[in-house]
Amino acid sequence: GGTTKDSASNTSGGGQSAAAADPNAAVKEGLKIAFLPKQLNNPYSDVETGGGKVAVEELKGEYKLVGPNDASASSQVSYINTLIQQQQDVIVVAANDPNAVCPSLNQARAAKIKVITFDSDASKDCRDAFINQATTEGIGQSLAKMALEQAGGEGEIAVLSATPNATNQNSWIEVMKEELKKPEYSKLKLVKVAYGNDDDQKSFQEAQGLLQSYPNLKAIVAPTTVGIAAAARYISSSSYKGKVAVTGLGLPNQMREYVKDDTVKKFALWNPADIGYLAAFAGANMASGKITGAQGEKFTAGKLGEYTIGADGEIVLGPPTEFTKENIDQFNF
């Protein structure tokens, strides 16, 4: 006998009974909104939370930023616990593990704290809404398209991803692979997915390894800001410069140098500051009772305008921006 996977009942409990939304309620002032990114001192999430800070100031709330030094779920849980103790009104969190943070997030929700996830979602049943930077399809397709352009329509390409278990990257890569099956991509061959663990040095070495194993590589697609920067840096300083293209998702500030020296022709990203901004507004609206996270509810997010909540409490930010030599100087993040 005993409890097995099949027999286990997984009603993870927690949560709160959804109260009815009151679209006419005013957004409260003085709300305590705390941001908990995957880890502190990551330039990308600094930009995101920076946007959050601006929004909280506009909302006249209390902004707080906490986070671990390492991107592990366990340290995040300690911080969630602390935030519960401090009775925050909203926790905006980028989950390091969709499940590991769940019990704590549910404890938070039981303590009447609204939980908004951004960047990397937690399990659906332990958060109130998720700010999606772009749809998975959108990004996957855009990656495939850029790869095709950069490789010159044919040849071998490789992906340099973050950690092997990064939820976002894996789903984008999935979409990309689907896309590659289409006839217009038939001459493109994805030879390998390598993982740099979002660690600069490791990514650098993985890029190196890719070129040694696949000398005919035409392009490296790195759907992570750390990976694309490392790959670009390696290519720009090696004999492969000009022969192998680098593209993917990157931060304009980090990539400016390589765009200008022609190692990188084009890459994409959404505006990360807008994610934090939108998350803060979603949280404030929810804590004020204007929305509950149900599909179809609408709210206004300051300068970004009106948003509608999609299925499963997802709020999509919008399409990614593509950066090239021509427009990169207009961005500073």
């Binding site: 502190l40 001192n41 990551n42 330039p43 999430s45 600094d46 030094n69 092997p164 390998k192 390598a194 993982y195 600069d200 040095q201 650098f204 070495q205 993985e206 190196q208 390894g209 070129l211 040694q212 194993s213 000398p215 920067a229 490392a230 840096r233 300083s237 090696s238 004999s239 500030n253 980090q254 400016r256 140098e257 390589y258 200008k260």
Partner: protein, 340 residues
């Protein structure tokens, strides 16, 4: 025990020295096998670019391993090297990005100085505070990293903020040898000669071999230990500059967790963790071996998930091989005594 290999009188044909040398020979052999196997699988592993990449990757680790070997030989350990690398890399990168015209030599000196100060703090706490090195440097591992984090916050120095000459330094070469590799070679050679042929080196071995006896022998233990820690710190600081130049992007987490790699390199290189034996160039070979293992696994296209496990197994294998050699030496010593 290599220490003794050097004294073997050349007159003796089958001397202990010859046997003892196998300690480093083992690593060389393992390295050769690995490279040969990988090269057969993928000949590009022996291409100029690949060799260059491997040497460049080894350089930073080898510089740190040199300092670590010196400290471990004195029966101490320096776990703070990863954090010292971080603080030095960030400080120097900030310095260079704010002063675009500073020459490279200033960057190198700044890194050395920052590292030396960090090492001095370690040394003073170990020697005058009478706190075991493992405790001190585990503590300063946290402290130095904490300082870097507090200072850097989330900021990052990006490649485009750094002066051109600083970035190209990592790749520029003279006579085909990249600067980075050259610096590492100079550091290793200087370290080896110091430890083998100079009084200070022999005294460091003596201290590690028996600390109380060193006091009684009138060796200036305090001065020597401080020197060892300052050297280890300074070399970690130097490694920080090289890191910044090579990777271009520096944030507060640079070198995080590197201490275990460095200690692994030193141990694999045949330096006994109980002090008194081993050599600097052995440690450097250990660094090379570890780096080559890493890149060979990538080239051999071994499943990402297996790589770490294989590295661990190889480390253990290296220690076992080393032990085998030590046992053989002990046996030959006993045999010789029996004839006396």
């Amino acid at each position: 025990m290599t220490a003794t290999s050097l004294e073997a009188p050349p007159s003796k044909r089958f001397s202990l020295g010859g046997l003892l040398k196998t300690r480093e020979l083992g690593i060389v052999l393992a390295l050769t096998l690995l490279v040969a196997y990988t090269a057969i699988d993928n000949s590009r592993f022996l291409s100029g670019q690949s060799i260059r990449d491997n040497l460049l990757n080894t350089a930073i680790l080898a510089v740190m391993a040199t300092g670590q070997a010196i400290v471990v030989i004195t029966r101490n350990i320096d776990l703070s090297v990863g954090s010292v690398l971080g603080i030095s890399a960030f400080a120097v990168a900030t310095l260079m990005s704010n002063n675009q015209d500073l020459p490279m030599i200033v960057a190198l000196l700044a890194g050395l100085a920052i590292g030396a100060v960090a090492g001095l703090v370690n040394g003073v706490l170990v020697r005058y505070g009478k706190v075991p090195a493992l405790v001190v440097t585990l503590g300063t591992l946290y402290i130095y990293r904490g300082i870097t984090y507090s200072w850097a916050g989330g900021s990052q120095v990006n490649a485009d903020e750094l002066p051109r000459h600083f970035l190209t330094f990592a790749n520029d070469s003279i006579l085909g040898v990249p600067w980075l590799v050259l610096i590492a070679l100079v550091v290793i050679a200087a370290g080896s000669v110091m430890m083998r042929n100079y009084r200070i080196g022999r005294e460091l071995y003596a201290i590690g071999s028996s600390p109380p006896a060193a006091e009684l022998a009138g060796i200036k233990v305090a001065r020597n230990l401080l020197t060892a820690f300052v050297l280890s710190g300074a070399l970690a600081g130097l490694a920080g500059v090289l890191y910044a130049a090579r990777f271009g992007t520096v944030d507060a987490a640079a070198g995080n967790g590197m201490e275990l790699n460095v200690v692994a390199a030193v141990v694999v290189g045949g330096v006994a963790v109980f002090g008194g034996s081993g050599s600097v160039w052995g440690a450097a070979l250990g660094a090379l071996l570890l780096t080559v293992i890493g890149s060979a696994l990538a080239v051999l296209d071994i499943n990402q998930f297996w790589q770490q496990a294989i590295v661990g197994a190889l480390i253990i294998l290296a220690i076992c091989a080393d032990r085998l050699v030590a046992v053989r030496i002990a046996r030959s010593l006993r045999k010789r005594d029996a004839h006396v």
